[in-house]
């Protein structure tokens, strides 16, 4: 701006000193250039079309991940929500590849769009204009909470178990096939159709040992930070249990209601916790042994 003011001042002085038409001609050229240089970025920013060509379906809070962007014009992009590093996107040279912006989600949740600050100084780099754009993601992005340190496990007592959680299903785990019945198999594990075919009693064979199914109840408080911490602890507990080979049933409250379902791995648990919402019950992570339905406090 100082430079522009200097130019205009010099031009005005000379124009009034000489009264020459060429001075005015040069002046209006400078004026036109400055006008386009100042107003052009606004047009460029307003007209640019941005879309996310690729983004992961799962992420974890605090862990960077890449989002692939396609921009119709060359613009400077700074992710605002989730925040990330500044990058230039749009046509550059002859390459026609999507540009990658790295973002770091600060907390868990399900995201359907990213908020970007789009800036441009085209065509002369004299003035920057910026605006905020909300760009939809190709699919929902589940941001899992960080893996926190699990609380000392609190198992519910027999008198508390029935009031807190529903009795977990006995067939927790993923079906892998069928095998002949062995004494001790649960009657609910009998695969009746295969039994009909085989002529002898057959039972479902599950992926995980179903002997020890643990129900993890994660109830998130209303305070967002507290809820984040609770989710982190819940995920930490689930991960630990999965590492121990236990069958984990996770109970959370989602927008559709309370969901109680087994989780097979960390990603699955992360998605569940990403979708979890707060409730007025307060922070709790309760582990319930599905077999003996005992509970223990922290």
């Amino acid at each position: 701006m100082i430079t522009a003011a200097t130019v205009v001042t010099v031009w005005w002085l000379v124009a009034h000193n000489a009264g020459a038409g060429w001075v005015q001609f040069v002046g209006v050229l400078v004026f036109g250039t400055l006008l386009v240089g100042v107003a052009g970025p606004a047009v460029a920013v307003g007209r640019v079309r941005i879309q996310v060509s690729a983004a992961p379906a799962d992420a974890m809070a605090g862990v960077p991940f890449e989002v692939h962007l396609l921009a119709s014009n060359r613009v400077r992009i700074r992710p605002l929500d989730p925040p990330g590093s500044e990058v230039f996107a749009g046509p550059a040279g002859r390459k026609d590849r999507p540009d990658i912006v790295v973002v770091v989600p600060p907390h868990r949740g399900v995201r359907r769009a990213v908020t970007l600050e789009v800036a441009s100084a085209a065509p002369f780099a004299l003035q920057w204009w910026r605006r905020t754009a909300v760009v939809a993601l190709p699919q929902d992005l589940h941001v899992a909470p960080r893996i926190g340190r699990p609380e000392p496990q609190r198992q519910t007592g027999p008198e508390e178990a029935g009031s807190i959680v529903a009795r977990p299903v006995a067939d927790a785990g993923l079906p892998r096939g069928a095998r002949p019945y062995r004494p001790g198999d649960h009657r609910r594990a009998v695969h009746w159709r295969v039994t009909a075919h085989a002529g002898s009693m057959m039972v479902k064979e599950l992926e995980n040992p179903t002997g020890r199914a643990v129900v993890v109840v994660v109830a998130l408080p209303m305070d967002p930070d507290e809820a984040e911490r609770a989710a982190e602890r819940g995920l930490g507990a689930v991960v630990d249990l999965l590492a121990e080979g236990a069958t984990v049933v996770l109970q959370t409250r989602e927008s559709s209601g309370v969901v109680t379902a087994p989780v097979a791995d960390r990603r699955h648990a992360g998605r569940r916790l990403a979708r979890a919402i707060s409730s007025a019950e307060g922070p709790r992570t309760i582990l319930t042994n599905a077999t003996d339905a005992t509970a223990a406090g922290p």
Partner: protein
Amino acid sequence: VTVLDAIRRANQPGLPEDSVRLRVACLGALLVVIAACNKLHEIAPTTALAAAALVTGGMVFSYVTRRHPPGWIKIVVAVGAIAACVWFFRSLTNPSIAFALVENPLTLLLVSVLAVHSFHVPARRDLVFSFAASAGLMAVAGAQAIDLEFGLYVAVWAGFCLWGLTEMWVSASSGGHMSVAGLLCTFAAVAVAAAVAFVFLPAPQVSVRVAYLARLGLGGSVGVPGALAGDGGTPAQLAQAGTTSGSTRVGGFLGFAKTLDTALRGQQDGNQLIMQVRAERPSFWVGETFDTWRGESWVETNRRLEPLREGSPFFLPTPAGDVPGGEVDLQTFYVAGSTANLVFHAEGASQLWFPAKNVFFAQDGTLVSPIGLGSGSIYTVESTASIPTAAQLRADTSYAALPTPVLSEDLQLPHQYPRVQALAASITAHDTTTYDKVQALIGWIGAHTRYSLDIPPLPRGRDSVDEFLFGNRVGYCEQISTSLAVMLRSLGIPTREAVGYVPGGYNPITDLYQVRASDAHAWVQVWFPGYGWQSFDPTAVVASVPPNPGTTALRDVAAALRRVPWIPVVAVGLGVAAIVAAARMRRWRPASWALRVTRGTERAGRRAGRPRHASETLPEYAASLDQLMESGSGPWSRLAEAVEASAYGGREPSEAARRTMVAEAKRTRIRRRTAVRT
């Protein structure tokens, strides 16, 4: 944020600029600006060369040291800029340097700063400053530009600047590029914005400037003090009397001499640019006036030239009969072609900046230069002329008298004009004021006369006014204005003939009125007691003679043919003809006997009214001809069979047989013709 913080932040070094193309564009813009300043003589060629070398070297140095610029370079740049500023202000305050030449020190200041600064442009922001400084320098150069040739420099400079600015965006956006369509849209937007701004920009305030230009161009001393010169295209050649139907001459058709002979019919080179004028408003550029009419020519009898020796600026006395005061109008005349050494000016000249030690001043306001005014001469005139309205002139009943000798000359008539006087009296019978009488006579002239440069010669011994008013009533400015002057004088109104130039076409780019040879003009000045001499142009209301289309077309064709450079055109035409002939010679091959027989067959068929169809083979065509001739021997079929055998069977007949067949084709044709006749 305090001011100190803002200054500190503004002075933080920017990121080093790596774009070579951006630096090349910046260097190109600077070099073009330096060349433009040199072209306009604002800096000497040696200075321009040195500046160009320094800027180029500085740019290279800056690029090499962009990441780690040496610390001492800032000190060098600062000291150099300060030294240039000190020199500039000392130049302005030095009485030995004319203030009118303020642009030259300013140009040198900017060029010096640019040259020094180019050694320390590591960052993009520094390059932006260089672009901005080049714009300022281009504006300074434009202040001296008076022709459209300067537009080439502006166009190239603008191209470098726009290229550089787009490269700046490419660099700032980490390698982004602009499409061709985007570039075109950008440049179009700049052009449209500039055009709109130019249209709505108010005209420059010419009268408030501080530079009064006066420069000596091609010319040389006239030799005879107060004599008119500029004849024959040579600035210092004394003016001589014109000849009938001679070419344009200062002493002849243009009327810039001691006499204005209305009997002369010159050939005017209308497109020749005489001068360009920068002025606040358009005016008649007065050269001289005539007071005595002799029936065929005007003569200046009251011109006693007095030298003004005080040097530039000259303070001019008030001419006889003029009323001092009025609106100030500043005009700068840029002489482009050879013209008379008259110092043309708007009416009421009061001050003159002229590149000579003295000028000659006549009582009627005529200014004569002691030097010839050739191309490149520049002078400035300040006029303070009263511009009364029609109502003011109509109400001008104040009493004032011209000096008696002057009055007698401006009412003089060579003889009685009874018919003219009767005509003027009848036209102005109902008018009581001088202004109304003048307007009535102008209206009558406009309604009853026609304008044409192509009029017959004035018969010897005839009065020009009588011939015009009571003859064919066709003439140009000299006849028309003289007739008005004589009619006014016959009514007792002081009148004189003025010659000079009309304002000419206005060029909005250069802000100059372009005066061409065809703008030479004669008009009438009428004296009003309260306002002095006022100009009236009766020619402006006279309609042109309707042109004859045939004559005009022939004249235009002849003029166009005269302008054709025949020697190169003929040479090019001969060359093309030779090339075509050579090409045809190379393609030419002697016709074979088969082709000759075929052609003979086709020729015979055409003459018999049976041309060959495109889809017919030669045997088919020959059979049809045989059938048409009702010839049992079938001569055409035999010939066609021989041709086919030669072309496709490889059975070439002997030389004698071939000759026989060709002759037979010819003979058969003759027989056919004979048969038809019988």
